[in-house]
């Protein structure tokens, strides 16, 4: 997890092309007639894209800011609960729900980030884990919204009063649009002045201070942006499953997000998308073969992380003849 960062210097390489290819593939998937509107594949890929948004948001701080947040699932949970709680009170409009989800996630990130960023290394991991667990137990304690058992949401969010999102294909394209927007926005951000400060701080925080930057301000801002994006992914997952529960915020979920980022290749943005795809597909496949799938999956992940430097993206660029990695 340390050492060579594939994006440390210039950002000009072939990864934008890889991202374009993958997005184009995702955009054509529903057009393949054989799938049918409510197909299992479409649902699975929708889920992959939602987790990809969450994983990309984590990559922004983990890969570009060297901030190993072990409580990122909390933001996804906050987004999901925003949908569930508002829907319970009759507010079903997607934009209203997303707005609340983003604001609350950003607020939670600002508060917890301001505290967590006073620490470094293992302490940062532990304190973000603690805040994540705090959110988890808060959700458990919400008896009015299902407590431990969670809460079923009657129907998907509405757009201008219309129930478009009930259509699996429309929902699929909404999620794809959010994914594409997230990728583009994060790509712009890391190349911009702000991102350059973030990347510089990842490499050498003391040098950055010795040219006049206060790393804390930039790291906290990145943390808040990351939390807000992850909260948005929670809005989507609640809509896909029509169900919310504290399990969304469990530390295992945070761990899964880290694995997606590292597996796909951290500090690459497209890596987490590939990581989410690989993780969820392998999980699905192994779970179909044996109920002890985790015993195979765990070692498999460790192998990839140890052997494919730069994750799957690193492997892909090496195979396709990239000079990077």
């Amino acid at each position: 997890m340390s050492g060579a960062h594939p994006t440390a210097g210039p950002l000009r390489d072939r990864r934008p092309r890889l991202a374009g290819l993958i997005l184009a593939g995702l955009a054509t998937l529903p057009l393949l007639g054989a799938l049918g509107a409510d197909s299992y594949v479409l649902l699975l890929v929708t889920r992959v894209m939602i987790f990809a948004v969450a994983a990309i948001s984590l990559d922004l701080i983990l890969g570009y800011g060297a901030m190993v947040s072990f409580g990122h699932a909390a933001f996804m949970g906050i987004g999901a609960y925003a949908v569930g709680i508002l829907a319970t009170h009759g507010i079903e409009d997607l934009l209203a729900q997303a707005g609340v989800a983003i604001l609350v996630s950003a607020g939670f990130a600002a508060l917890t980030g301001a505290v967590s960023l006073r620490t470094k290394g293992v302490h940062f991991i532990m304190i973000t884990l603690a805040f994540g667990q705090m959110a988890f137990f808060l959700a458990v304690s919400l008896a009015a919204y299902g407590g431990d058992d969670g809460l079923t949401i009657a129907r998907r969010s509405t757009v201008l009063g219309a129930e478009w999102l009930g259509n699996a294909t429309i929902f699929y394209y909404l999620v794809l649009a959010v994914l594409a927007a997230t990728l583009l926005a994060c790509r712009a951000l890391v190349a911009a002045r702000f991102g350059r400060v973030l990347r510089g701080t990842r490499e050498n925080p003391v040098r950055m201070q010795a040219i006049g930057f206060e790393p804390f301000r930039y790291q906290l801002t990145a943390y808040v942006i990351s939390g807000a994006i992850c909260g948005l992914s929670g809005v989507l997952i609640a809509n896909q499953t029509n169900f919310i529960s504290p399990a969304y915020m469990a530390w295992q979920r945070s761990g899964e997000l880290i694995v997606m980022v590292v597996l796909g290749g951290m500090g690459t943005l497209i890596g987490p998308l590939i990581g989410a795809l690989a993780y969820l597909l392998i999980e699905e496949w192994l779970a179909g073969i044996t109920e002890h799938w985790k015993m195979i999956f765990g070692p498999l992940l460790i192998l990839v992380v140890l052997h494919a430097r730069g994750g799957l993206v690193g492997a892909i660029t090496r195979i396709t003849g990239g000079r990077h990695g």
């Binding site: 210097g9 210039p10 002045r193 490499e203 003391v206 040098r207 950055m208 201070q209 006049g212 930057f213």
Partner: protein, 251 residues
């Protein structure tokens, strides 16, 4: 008073029971090259840390152009015009040489809370960074990843980064450390060119360089300044000879 750009007022730092600097008072004059010499472990690096704000002082004050900056962070002091280099080279090895310097320009050129536009392509930042690289003689290496530079070139880069902050005073911690003779000569020539245009506080073990470059020299022994004066005075000072120079000659 107006002559003195940097004033250290009774600075002290201890690590547990180990007192590293004690009662250090110094006045650095504008545009002078002021060398600080002293044996290994005398507290020179610690003093630079205290002046730059990397390490807080236990007591004492640091005044820059008359303003008390003791409570300011390293970054805030840098923005006030205090630039420093490190005894162990401190650069961004994964960034191109040019971007290492351009970031220092960016730090004082408007807000860095910009989320659009490729920073690496900003012509104004790059032009100024290139000028700094030319000053230190690294112009031809601008596009190389900084981590691939030779040791000596990394030290030159660090100087270019420091210059790019537009400092009022440069704090240099052994810029010649670990260099071969030729590389060292290049740095000495560079320091000679910067001399008079910048105020420089130079910590250095290379006595030839120190005595040929410095306007004044302070001698730090066991955390205390035992003498300050022109090179000739320092050379003739019996206390210095006993505590420091004599030791070198004997070795």
């Amino acid at each position: 008073m107006a002559e003195d750009i940097l004033i250290l007022d009774r600075l002290r730092k201890a690590y547990g029971g180990l007192v590293v600097t004690e009662d250090v008072s110094l006045a650095i004059r504008r545009d002078e090259l002021h060398a600080v010499i002293g044996p290994n472990g005398a507290g020179k690096t610690t003093l630079i840390h205290q002046i730059s704000g990397l390490t807080p002082s236990d007591s004492g004050r640091v005044l820059l152009d008359g303003a008390d900056i003791t409570a300011l962070s390293l970054a805030a002091r840098t923005r006030r015009g205090l630039a420093r280099s490190f005894q162990i080279t401190s650069i961004l090895p994964g960034f191109p040489v040019l971007e290492n310097v351009a970031l220092a320009v960016q730090a004082r050129a408007g807000s860095s809370f910009r989320f659009l536009g490729t920073a690496a392509d900003e012509p104004a930042l790059n032009a100024e960074a290139r000028a700094m690289l030319d000053i230190v003689g690294l112009g031809a290496r601008a596009d190389l990843p900084a981590g691939l530079l030779s040791h000596g070139e990394k030290r030159q880069l660090e100087l270019a980064i420091s210059l790019a902050t537009r400092p009022r005073i440069l704090l240099l911690d052994e810029p010649l450390a670990g260099m071969g003779h030729e590389e060292g000569q290049a740095i000495v020539a560079l320091l000679r060119r910067l001399r008079g245009r910048y105020t420089i506080l130079l910590v250095e073990h290379d006595m030839d360089a120190v005595f040929s470059l410095a306007d004044r020299i302070s001698v730090l022994v066991s955390g205390r300044v035992i003498a300050t004066g022109a090179p000739a005075e320092i050379r003739a000072n019996p206390a210095v000879r006993a505590a420091y120079l004599g030791e070198e000659e004997a070795a």
